[in-house]
Structure formats: structure tokens, C-alpha cells
């Protein structure tokens, strides 16, 4: 390091440059030689509009756009769209495609004779089961008819703006330390989403076909521990003293009586876990979590990291993603990045409690990249998908069949 360089009083120089020209010139005369050079450099830097303009360009945004253009090489993608603007592009594309597809649809509708129209076929469809709560005594309650309910320990459970809320009667969520904590289980079947506020204030969103077991009150002598299956998003109430641990179970494993397939240890954070099959996805939105497979090193996640863990091979991989894309299901927004139609069908089956089959195996491989909103009626959703011009749907006996678009 050149000691002289460090002696430059930049603030003084900036002050000089801010002065009117006359004064600036006379002040400049009084400067030391190296200060004069520094002043000229500073002047050059400050007056450079090209540089200022270039520095304001959003390189990340530009890359996302460029990547979208170079990324799409899959079977026949609808379109590859990335990040914030993708929703708008998708919406616009659907509008445009919607118009053309509607014309096609009108010409075609006469030809559909074997199956009913989607709207007629799915009219009056409702999910077959309801959201259920299993209480500490083993009683089963239907959540939508639940007004208010009290557990043995005095915790009241009520619905607040659609979220099941646990509120301890007296003070913070401390129980008497004798015996096991009272456990409740919330079961969300296909066709529903349900949110929940635990006694410590932690917020939980359950996707369709998911369940969570949790203590009615957390016992503040050990860690806070809950067990989940399916897909669940957490906003954990920060409490350094009492770590929050989520045990993840893949389907077929009892959340109460068997050993977890993996655990996520939380340090006050929001994140998503998804375990609908033999793969567990853990996605971090904010804060920090530790993913613990049953064997091997735990993995620390930073925001926008995702761990994919295969329970059969025990292999976990960490990748960088946009966490928003993986957590927007809470508001029924779906972001597809090269999602196969087979995967999309599985998702719709869960979300609407419907059955979808394929008339032709090759249709399963069609890939979608788009952002769309899951409408409340499955028929509207299927019609939107038809507008992409890749497949069409028929309904027989309330069962949905995917057909090629051509004939």
C-alpha cells in the first residue's frame, strides 16, 4: 500500500467539487500535487454519465431474460419463463392463446361425442373427504364445522380467518412437565389446503394430501418437535432457546409410531418440506435450517437453497433455486419449470381430488414452463391447459382422460 494514497482526504475533495467553478479553481491551486491528481480522478469518475448509466442496469434481471431464451430446448415447451415478470408473460400468453384456442375449441366441440364436455363432466364435483383433526383422546373432528374446541389442558382451538389456531389458556405455551404432551394430528385430504397456528405462534400451511402431528402445547424443557407428511410450509416463531425440529415422513410411514425419514432443524425461519414420494424436498425461504438425513452429514441451507433427498439411496443434493416458486402453492399459484405433464397431473389429482389417466404414455413427457393460478374449479383449470394446444381432456364417469390435441 502506498501510504500517500491513504492520506487523501476524499471528503475535502468532494467538497471542493461541489463548489462553484471560480472557488473550485482557487481551492485546487492550494492542494498538494497528489491531491490534485486525486481531485481530477474524482472529477472524472463523478462526471461520467456513461458509467453511472451502466451501473444502474440490472444484470441479474437481464440474465434471467437471456437464460429464458437459451434454456428452452425441451420436448415442446409452452414457453420458458423466469422470475418476477414470468407471471405477467404467462398471463398474457394465456390470453393470446386463449383467444385462438377458443376458436379452435368452438370448431372442435362438435366432434367430441364420446366424452362429455369438461364442465358438464365435472359439474358438482367436490372432494370426497374433509379436513380432519384427531384430538388427544383419539376423537375425530371435522375442521370446517369446528367452532371452538378445548383440549384437556385448557388449550382452546378455534378457526381464525380459516386458520386453525391453538391458544394456551394461561400464559405462554408451557405445560406441566409430567407425562407425555397431548398430541393432535391434522389430516388434510386431497382437494384442500389448510393453515394452522401452533401454540408457540409458528404458522403452518398444509398442501393437499398432507398431515402434521404436533403437541397441543410445546413443552418448554426440550426442543419443539412436529412430524409431517406430504407438503408443508412453516414460518417458525423465532426462539433461540427452543430449537424447532420437523420430522419428515414419506407416505406409508406412521407419523406417530415410526422413525422419521429425515429431520429439519430450524433456527427461526420460513421453509417448505415436500415428501409425497420417496424424495424429500426441503426449500428455504428465509433464515437458516439444518437438514438431517438419518445417516451422513447434516446440510445447512441458506435462503433460496433446496435439498433433494432420496430416501431409497440416501443421496442428498443441494441446489440454488427461487424459493418463491416452491412456496407459492399456499396462494394456489403454480410455477412450472419444465414440469412434466405426469407430474402436473399428480399435482392436480391431489389439489382437486380427481383421477387423471393418460390415453397415451408419450403425453406424460410433455413439459410445461409457465406460471398459472389454480382456479377453484378443476374444469376451469383443465380448460386453461387445453388452451396451450398440446393436449385436450375428456371426462368419463368423473374420471379425467388426457388425449392428444390432434384428434
Amino acid at each position: 500500500m502506498d501510504p500517500e494514497q491513504n492520506d487523501i482526504d476524499w471528503e475535502k475533495l468532494e467538497g471542493i467539487l461541489a463548489k462553484p467553478e471560480q472557488e473550485r479553481i482557487s481551492l485546487k491551486e492550494q492542494l498538494l500535487p497528489q491531491e490534485k491528481i486525486a481531485l481530477e480522478q474524482l472529477e472524472q469518475l463523478q462526471a461520467d454519465e456513461l458509467l453511472t448509466g451502466a451501473l444502474q442496469l440490472d444484470t441479474q434481471h437481464a440474465w434471467n431474460k437471456t437464460q429464458a431464451l437459451i434454456g428452452g430446448v425441451s420436448v415442446k415447451p409452452v414457453r420458458t419463463i423466469h422470475h418476477a415478470w414470468k407471471k405477467w408473460v404467462a398471463a398474457a400468453c394465456f390470453l393470446v392463446l386463449g383467444g385462438t384456442a377458443w376458436l379452435l375449441w368452438r370448431n372442435r366441440s362438435a366432434e367430441i361425442v364420446q366424452g362429455q364436455s369438461i364442465q358438464q363432466g365435472m359439474a358438482g364435483h367436490t372432494p370426497s373427504a374433509k379436513v380432519q383433526l384427531i384430538t388427544a383422546t383419539g376423537q375425530t373432528l371435522e375442521v370446517d364445522s369446528l367452532r371452538q374446541f378445548s383440549e384437556k389442558d385448557g388449550t382452546t382451538i378455534y378457526l381464525q380467518q380459516g386458520a386453525m389456531t391453538y391458544r394456551p389458556e394461561n400464559g405462554p405455551s408451557v405445560t406441566n412437565n409430567a407425562g407425555d404432551a397431548l398430541m393432535n394430528t391434522l389430516i388434510v385430504p386431497r382437494g384442500y389446503l389448510q393453515s394452522l397456528v401452533l401454540s408457540d405462534g409458528t404458522k403452518v400451511w398444509l398442501n393437499a394430501d398432507s398431515r402434521i402431528s404436533f403437541p397441543v402445547r410445546f413443552r418448554m424443557e426440550e426442543e419443539r418437535r412436529v412430524s409431517v407428511q406430504g407438503e408443508v410450509y412453516f414460518e417458525v416463531k423465532h426462539d433461540e432457546q427452543w430449537p424447532f425440529i420437523v420430522s419428515v415422513y414419506t407416505p406409508g410411514h406412521d407419523t406417530q409410531n415410526s422413525i422419521a425419514d429425515a429431520e429439519v432443524q430450524v433456527m427461526g425461519t420460513s421453509f417448505n418440506v415436500k415428501a409425497y414420494n420417496n424424495t424429500i424436498y426441503t426449500t428455504l425461504a428465509t433464515g437458516s435450517v439444518l437438514f438431517r438425513p438419518p445417516a451422513g452429514k447434516p446440510l445447512q441451507l441458506s435462503p433460496d437453497n433446496q435439498v433433494t433427498y432420496k430416501t431409497q439411496t440416501g443421496v442428498s443434493t443441494l441446489q440454488k433455486i427461487s424459493s418463491e416458486d416452491f412456496t407459492s402453492w399456499r396462494s394456489d399459484d403454480l410455477v412450472m419449470d419444465k414440469m412434466s405433464l405426469a407430474e402436473l397431473a399428480g399435482l392436480l389429482e391431489r389439489r382437486y381430488d380427481v383421477q387423471i389417466s393418460f390415453s397415451n404414455e408419450s403425453l406424460k413427457k410433455i413439459e410445461y414452463s409457465a406460471a398459472l393460478h389454480l382456479t377453484s374449479q378443476v374444469a376451469d383449470m383443465l380448460e386453461n391447459l387445453e388452451q396451450t394446444g398440446l393436449v385436450r381432456f375428456a371426462v368419463r364417469d368423473k374420471k379425467i382422460i388426457v388425449l392428444p390435441f390432434e384428434k
Partner: protein
């Protein structure tokens, strides 16, 4: 990583994977936009041209042969693209530009031009390599409407910290300016 470190020598695009290509993009995007802007005076169009250039590079990476350095190749490509676009946009307009060019031909001397281009690349790189908080402070300081107290408030730090960041930024950037000032003096003094 080393492959994408602003290569100076002959350079093979086909050897890059997407991530390496991305970092090439990240490092050169603002600079290449600046070069386009110098020609067409429009940031939006400059951005489009540079993005198109990168798309072309990626799609044709197997067949593009770069004999010069990546920097020289990229600069030449986007400038040509900007000039072509200008030509297409408006023939009349082009004549006006040409007339202007004659009067200011001193600035168009090739050596000086490349020197200045390189200086911008070094400056932008240096600024983007400042530590995150310092870079934020520096970028905010470029906005004429913000004073140090405003920057401090916006970032939730003290005014003295802002001053410290500015001092360290200037010291860093000065090293870059030092060499390019020489150039400046050679031509104009």
C-alpha cells in the same frame, strides 16, 4: 471458474457450461451495454442488443471461433450490432451521425477508443467487486439527489460508516483510474 475470468487470450465458448456462461454474462453485461449506448444513445436498445448477442453466442457456441480475446470479440460484436441497427433504423439519421463523426474524429482514433473501452471494463469490474455494502453505498452515492445522510438513513448505518465506505471505494477505484489517466494525458495534454 478460471475459464470465465475475463479471458484475454484465444477462447473457446463451446467449453463453457451454463454456469460459466452466466458468470461471463454477469461480468460483461453492463460494460457491453455501455459500449452500445455510446453508439445508439438508448439504454433499452443497448440492453436488447447485448442480450441478443449472448443468446447468439450460446446457440452458436459450437461454431463460433474466437481468434482474438473474448473482450475484443464481444466489444466488436455488440458495437457492430449497434451500428447495424442504427443503419436499419433510419438512413437519414445515419448521415447525421456520420457528419458528427467527422467533426469529432479525434475521439474515434482506434487506439484511444479501445483504451477507453478497457478502462470502463476495469472500472465496472472494480466497482462490482467491492464488498456488498460498500458497493451499495457507492452506487447510491452516484445518485445526485442523495446526500450522505440520505444514504446512511436508507441503509441504516451511520454517516461516518458511509464516509468510510466512500473513502475505501475511491482508494480502490483510484488504482484503476491511475493507469487510464495516463492514456488521457497522452492524447490531450
Amino acid at each position: 471458474m478460471s475459464k470465465t475470468k475475463a479471458p484475454d487470450g484465444p477462447f473457446n465458448l463451446a467449453s463453457l457450461d451454463v454456469r460459466e456462461f452466466e458468470s461471463l454474462f454477469q461480468q460483461h453485461y453492463q460494460w457491453l451495454c455501455l459500449l452500445c449506448y455510446k453508439i445508439n444513445g438508448n439504454w433499452n436498445e443497448a440492453e436488447d442488443l447485448v442480450q441478443e448477442f449472448f443468446v447468439r453466442c450460446w446457440q452458436k457456441r459450437e461454431s463460433i471461433v474466437i481468434r482474438e480475446s473474448w473482450n475484443a470479440f464481444a466489444a466488436r460484436s455488440v458495437k457492430n450490432a449497434a451500428l447495424n441497427q442504427l443503419q436499419k433504423n433510419d438512413i437519414r439519421h445515419k448521415h447525421e451521425i456520420a457528419a458528427q463523426d467527422n467533426t469529432t474524429s479525434v475521439n474515434e482514433r482506434p487506439d484511444q477508443d479501445t483504451g477507453e473501452d478497457e478502462r470502463y471494463l476495469r472500472l465496472i469490474t472494480a466497482i462490482n467487486q467491492l464488498p456488498e455494502q460498500r458497493r451499495k453505498v457507492f452506487l447510491l452515492s452516484r445518485r445526485p439527489d442523495l446526500r450522505y445522510t440520505d444514504i446512511a438513513a436508507q441503509l441504516g448505518i451511520s454517516v461516518n460508516t458511509v464516509k468510510m465506505h466512500m473513502r475505501l471505494s475511491y482508494q480502490e477505484l483510484r488504482k484503476v483510474l491511475e493507469t487510464s489517466l495516463l492514456f488521457f494525458y497522452l492524447f490531450f495534454k
